[in-house]
Symmetry: C2
Subunit: 342 residues, 2 copies
């Protein structure tokens, strides 16, 4: 079985964006805000957007199951206040849940949180609870920078975030660290802000001792870990200078990287540097980079081809990356599969 | 000849830091500010700090000449106003010039600029002029984020920066993109802010068309280009989505990467992905990562070992990385060497 742990509902029916635009337009005039019930999306509309896009490509590429969360760039936690985020997160999470009910063999949800800049993350707990207990979420996406490129929240090692960590440990769900749209003109959203956030989070974890407080907390750093694997020597050296244990002991029981790296040399570096136990298959399809690579004739984000073509991986290691690691890091995903006899 | 294009005077005599601390303490009370002439550093003191550190290691490792600029993390352009930066930059540039006069075969200066957040970069031109015309600077370091981690300046492709570009083109000196200390607690200076800035700059250049306006402008992106080479497929794909030409045509006549990547797999990726013409030897010694790698028994930042051990590079290509590319990208360095018959 091939599990893609990183997919977003980037192809949701147009009505979703229209509703969101109305919500944003009404921020300064709450009486004109649309109600959640104003958003009408039928099951058939959802089916169409999935069958013609993600599911079609999953079948073409040969992946079976996607951990599916709301479109990351549309989370836009910087817009409005907590109530705006709360309404929006509930709608988006509900849609991913519906996708998972319509295609139970192919999608399983992960939740976005109703974060808002300067607001206590504790306010996210009711949505988190609902998503895990009622909607079947097997992971959450946590935005380390709800300001959208101004980085006004404390580092991930700060007690600010502890209420979230306490809850995910209770539920035994992993946390993907994933920012949203950049509203800082310096940072292109998918070309700079995403990758910088991954790098930033990894270095924050090196600086801190978070996993002493939370030995079972698990973070997935997407996009191949940002710059971290490429600069693995730098990070090993900085950990050493900071008198931290070596990275395998300091972080690698708790930190995992996905394979959203869109060329063979990048995947080869990732698998050469990071222990195979810490690598989880993902493509973020349909996401930031949708074109065909003229050098290969295949889509940039068809990352399975790079795993297949890796000369360093054994068949057993490929299975770990495709399935075994995901089942270990996402226990609720594993349980859901076992309930189906998989 | 082996030219290291990226070294900073990180070992300057203690008196420099003391003077700077006095300058900072006096920001709100200019009458108590130290005068530049209060800073007394003798030639012997400079000799000691260089001979026992950078020069010693250059001899041990086998590099000949370092392009030497003020300590990057101490530029701290966010501190004080333009006048504070101007005084500080003049002092630091003068010291690097003195190093180059005391060790003319081993050091050649690059200049920092007296940038200050929100201040027109045009104000940097007198210091730039002095450094190139009088102090022998062969390059400049440009900080794309003088706010120190808040990213309040426009992208590098904005006309805001054009006065600098016009001047460096006139002088035919390259620009290293190099941030300074982070005063944003989210970003560790050398582990996140430096690498993020490299990645951010590269993506800004993809988004823009700067080299249409300045076909001869040359940027060096340090620290191996941040995350760019590891995510080369992502960047090729994003350029394609943005309807830009392929990266070799769009950027690689003008953008170069150094080899400050502190492990063999990283250097192997860099040399596999980036054309050899665009790679310049550097170590940033003595810099962010000063320890001995227990996996190799050698210093993390002894990057020459990785170039030597690369199985992909021919002897000719190593010469390009060590010397040929630096002479081409830094014409004033080449002229200075030729004047000495080198």
């Amino acid at each position: 079985m091939i599990i893609d742990i990183h997919g977003h509902y980037t192809t949701a029916p147009k009505a979703l964006e229209t509703w969101r635009n109305q919500q944003i337009a009404a921020i300064n005039d709450p009486s004109s805000a649309p109600r959640p019930s104003d958003l009408k999306i039928t099951d058939d509309e959802i089916r169409e957007t999935i069958e013609a896009n993600q599911l079609k490509q999953m079948k073409q590429r040969g992946s079976d199951l996607t951990v599916f969360s709301p479109r990351a760039s549309f989370m836009a936690h910087h817009i409005g206040d907590f109530q705006v985020s709360a309404t929006w997160a509930a709608i988006c999470n509900e849609l991913c849940h519906r996708v998972s009910r319509l295609f139970p063999d192919h999608f399983i949800p992960a939740a976005m949180l109703p974060q808002s800049p300067g607001v206590d993350p504790r306010t996210c707990l009711p949505e988190l609870k609902k998503c895990v207990e009622e909607l079947g979420a097997v992971a959450i996406n946590l935005n380390p920078d709800p300001s959208g490129g101004h980085w006004t929240s404390p580092p991930l090692t700060d007690r600010h975030w502890y209420p979230i960590y306490e809850k995910v440990i209770e539920y035994d769900v992993p946390v993907m660290i994933h920012v949203s749209t950049s509203c800082n003109p310096c940072f292109h959203t998918t070309g700079a802000h995403y990758i910088n956030a991954d790098t930033t989070a990894f270095m924050q974890l090196i600086q801190g001792d978070l996993f002493k407080d939370f030995p079972t907390l698990r973070f997935v750093i997407p996009h191949g870990g940002g710059a971290a694997p490429y600069h693995w020597g730098r990070y090993r050296g900085l950990a050493q200078e900071l008198k931290k244990p070596p990275l395998p002991e300091h972080l690698l029981h708790n930190v995992f990287f996905d394979t959203c790296v869109y060329h063979q040399p990048g995947i080869d570096l990732l698998t050469r540097v990071v222990p195979v136990e810490n690598i989880l298959f993902a493509s973020e399809m349909i996401g930031a980079v949708r074109g065909i690579d003229p050098e290969t004739g295949h889509p940039y984000d068809d990352t399975k081809r790079f795993i297949e073509a890796s000369k360093a991986l054994t068949a057993t290691q490929r299975l770990q990356i495709y399935e075994g690691n995901a089942r270990r890091v996402y226990p609720r995903l594993d349980s859901a599969l076992k309930q189906k006899g998989k």
